[in-house]
């Protein structure tokens, strides 16, 4: 499917006449975006940032920005949120996850915003394990398993993560809308450009105050519930697509080994987390 994107002039967001049928929230409960049905498709609202009007009859997405929102940020929303939602309508499987390559295999880190997906991907990349994606991890069936499709060679990092990893700011431009900076791939932040077989998924669980990294195998049935919670789907009321989505995720839950990963949320502990993940991969996935 080819999607045409149109950028409209900035305008203050007015209340919508419909009630949202779905809503995504940040960890603190604030609304990240809400979903409305329209005559020809959908309107996805990111409060005070932008609306995206999706016209299914024209395969067209119109971006309606709020005032003073940067073009770069709008591009990030489109690439990381709207495009994955559209892709799932076409049967792709997209997870809220980052991905890196280790020893020729991919691993993914799944979790809500703020759980550390980008920081882990950046840390592993800095340690020599190239990243495949910052978010919106696409799984393509490959043999009896799945491959991770590379996306764009850019990481979006909070300034404190970036400063911790590099001791300086690489991009130099902090986007006030995103509170994240775009850090392009570079020799010390390598990007993996080829589809890579998926070895495992790590769910970044709610922190329990652990002092050492903990990695435990998740039962497949529990994994399915988490996959549902952390996958992209545009319309949960679209029963045929929801049915197909559920079936695809069940196949992933049966085929892919998944773990719960908890780790100290301190930057000075991050090197230990990276080492624990490396050990876990090298030692045949035993619990730590």
């Amino acid at each position: 499917m080819t999607i045409r994107v149109i950028n409209a002039a900035a305008a203050v967001q007015l209340p919508l006449s419909t009630e949202p049928y779905d809503c995504w929230r940040m960890l603190d409960g604030t609304v990240a975006c809400e979903f409305h049905r329209t005559k020809n498709g959908y309107r996805v609202r990111f409060p005070d940032r932008a609306d995206f009007a999706i016209d299914l009859t024209e395969d067209q997405v119109t971006c309606l920005p709020a005032p003073d929102v940067s073009e770069a940020f709008l591009g990030d929303i489109y690439f990381n949120q709207i495009l994955p939602l559209m892709m799932t309508r076409s049967g792709d499987l997209v997870l809220h996850a980052s991905g890196v390559g280790i020893d020729g295999q991919a691993i993914g880190f799944i979790g809500a915003t703020g759980r550390g997906k980008s920081t882990l991907a950046a840390s592993l990349a800095k340690a020599g394990h190239p990243f495949l994606t910052d978010d919106g991890l696409i799984l393509d069936p490959a043999g009896s398993g799945y491959a991770v499709r590379p996306r764009r060679p850019i990481l979006r990092l909070r300034a404190d993560s970036e400063a911790m990893l590099y001791g300086r700011t690489l991009a130099g431009e902090l986007d006030p809308d995103a509170l994240k900076e775009r850090v392009p791939a570079r020799p010390d932040l390598p990007f993996l450009e080829v589809p890579t077989p998926l070895a495992a998924l790590y769910f970044l669980v709610e922190p329990r105050g652990v002092e050492e990294p903990q990695i435990t195998r998740m039962p497949a049935a529990g994994t399915l519930a988490e996959l549902i919670a952390h996958s992209f789907i545009l319309d949960i009321g679209d029963k045929p697509r929801l049915r197909a989505h559920f079936n695809r995720l069940a196949q992933v839950a049966n085929a892919v080994t998944c773990y719960a990963l908890d780790f100290p949320r301190r930057y000075d502990a991050l090197s230990g987390v990276i080492e624990a993940i490396r050990r876990h991969r090298a030692n045949g996935n035993n619990d730590l």
Binding site: A221, T223, L224, A225, R243, A253, N254
Partner: protein, 89 residues
């Protein structure tokens, strides 16, 4: 509801076996449920049109479980499926 009842499973219910359990998704509400191995066998029997007694017969042949306990468990599960809208009596 009794053991002779034949439940009609909802067309909005999707069942998939995952890791030895059966996960049910209710497309109407977006809610999902987990059934253990025996519960999954009950669901499969109901989907094939079996009565609750016939479901018990099938399960008794597969699992080592006292008949009285099995019938009580199947009736209890059937009540839950109906109350959750996943089946009708």
């Amino acid at each position: 509801m009794n053991l002779e009842s034949r439940l009609q499973t909802s067309s909005d219910a999707v069942a998939r076996e995952v890791g030895g359990e059966t996960m049910l998704l209710d497309l109407a509400s977006g809610t999902y449920f987990g059934l253990n191995e025996v519960g999954g066998a009950v669901w499969n029997a109901l989907e094939s049109g079996a009565s609750l007694a016939e479901a018990c017969d099938q399960i008794e042949a597969q699992f080592d479980v006292p008949r009285g306990q099995l019938e009580a468990d199947v009736l209890a599960l059937a009540e839950q499926l109906v109350s959750q809208g996943l089946a009708t009596a």
